[in-house]
Every structure is written in structure tokens, then in C-alpha cells.
Amino acid sequence: MTTAFDPRIVAFCCKYCAYAAGDLAGSMRLSYPANIRIIQVPCTGRVDIVHLLRAIEDGADGVYVAGCLEGECHFLTGNLKTRKKVEYVRKTLEEIGVDPGRVEMFNLSSAMGPRFAEIAREMTERIRELGPNLPTAAKAA
């Protein structure tokens, strides 16, 4: 590639943890890549298989779900259920020749602002290494 690849990454963030951690990261003036498009959800349990697939289909190079620490979901088990959905999507993508690393699940608490920034950097780096996913179908952000 002649120009640096600037990945587009969609992050589904739980209102009770990851989204609040993102706020904290901002308050702490931590910098993280601007490649992350955050979608706030009331619980990661709201995220469905089709949401993750459609994000990929509509041009995201990577998608991740960030929910509460295991055992600390505000709705008890939403994050555990969605971890299984994320695993399903990863397996599906692998079957059709898409690197499963493009989809990931993270767990953090609302007090973990630095971890939020670290996850954003980690995913951006990972996707940058993997390269564009569906370049011909890429839509303007």
C-alpha cells in the first residue's frame, strides 16, 4: 500500500461500563485512535449476531463489543450471552474466509478509562495489520 490504511472500527459499548470508561478516558485526557465509532447500547446483551455481521457488511474493517466484567453485568448475564454471539460470528467469518480477529469481545468496568483507550489502540493496530476487509464495498463513513 502506498498510503497508510486508516481502518474503520465499530465499537458496541455498554452504557454501564465501556461507554462510561470512554467518558473517563476523555476526562483523563487520554488519547486513543479516532478510528473507533462508538455505539452506545443499554447492555451488550442487546447486541445481536446480525448487528455484528451488518457492521462488517456495511464497510467496517473491525467490530468489537465492550461489556462489563464477567459476573458484573448490570442485567446479570447480558455480557455472557453476547460473548457467545461474538464467538458465533467469529466462527462464521472464519468459514467464509474472513479473519475472525476482526470481531472481538472485551470486558472492562466504568473505572477503567486507561483500559478503554488501550482496547481502542489494540484493535486499531490489529485491524491495521489485517488490512481492509471489503475494499470494493467500502462506503464513505
Partner: protein
Amino acid sequence: MIVADRKPLAEILEMVSDHHEILLLGCKGCVTVCNAGGRKEVQVLAATLRIARRKAGRPLEVEEDVLERQCDPEYVEQIRDRADRFDAVVSMACGVGPQFLAEAYPEQRVYPALNTTFFGGAVGHGVWEERCGGCGTCIIHHFDGLCPVARCSKSLLHGPCGGSTGGCCEIARDTECIWDRIVQKKMARGRLDDLRAVRAPKDWRTARDGGPRKSIREELTP
């Protein structure tokens, strides 16, 4: 209900490999209840097929729809006005759906996206088990509501066989021996003597042994 599982993606992709525009058709009947071919499963498979084909450099147009039922001609008729717009129709119903579609639209290519597996029910979230063998002559009342036709690996009517060990069938440790269950239940209810009853041999002509079956209710026919 009829329980089904989605075919492997590789098999579905191979089916539609020569097509460019397909109609992916779900069913709101049994396959919606067993999470194999309802609206959500149609959305997931459609997105997956589109991603796979875009990745392969041969985009596939997928229109998504879900019929009330695919085993009733009146609902199958609902795609009459657009059926010829597609290279193929991929049905996410049980094996009945694609056959009704193929009969209604003889010019159209129709493919099954599901493997129809058994008549059963949900025993837990995401877990279904076989409960009925569709033998055409129900006898479960003789066995305290437990069907040996569907649930015994050999469909024995005078079990258990020598392969029953510790309540499990010899074919797998996670397959229960239904004859063990029947005997245990009869003993617990004090009805073990029921099993001494001599019954006429089962007439298997009402099952598949009698060929394809048909049910006609005169009071309902026009």
C-alpha cells in the same frame, strides 16, 4: 414442531455459486420457533452470503423475506409477482417449503438452506430433542408418555436391549436409554405389570413402511 438445522455455509455457497440474485425465504412456522429459519436467521444468512461473495469478488444480491408458512399454497402464492425476478429461491423452511415452492414456481431454481432433522421440542434454551417418530399410530400411553419408537435407538417395543447401561444407550453416553426410563417410571408408579401385557404387533404400514402418506379430512375438503 419440526426441528431443523442450517446447512454448512460451504454447502449453501456452493448451491448459489452460479447465481447473482437470490430470494432468501424464511418461514414463520416451526423453523422460526427452533431458531433455524425465521426472520433473524434469514437476516444472518443473507448478511453472511453477501459478505462471502463480496470477499470472493462476485457480489450476490440477496432479497430477504419470511412467509407466514411455506407449507400452505396460499402463502407460497405471496411471492408470485416477484418470483421470476431472481436467479434462484433459497428456502429456510423445513423440507416441505422448498417442495411447495418448486411446485408453485416450476421455472424457478429452488434450494434448501436447512437440513430437516426431527419432530421434537425444546428441552432448554438452544437445545431440542426428538420426541416423535411420526409412525402414524401413537402408542405412548402404553409407556407412560415416553415414546420408544422415537427415543429408543432401535425403536424397540419390548426393551431394553443388552446395550442399556446405567440408564444410557450404547450408542453414546449422552443418549438416555428410554426403556430404562420407562421401566423406572412404571416401577415408581407401581405399574410395572403393564409391561407384561401382550399386544398385537405394531402395524408399521402407517409409518413410512406404507409409502408416502396422505391425510384427507372429508369434512374440510371443498
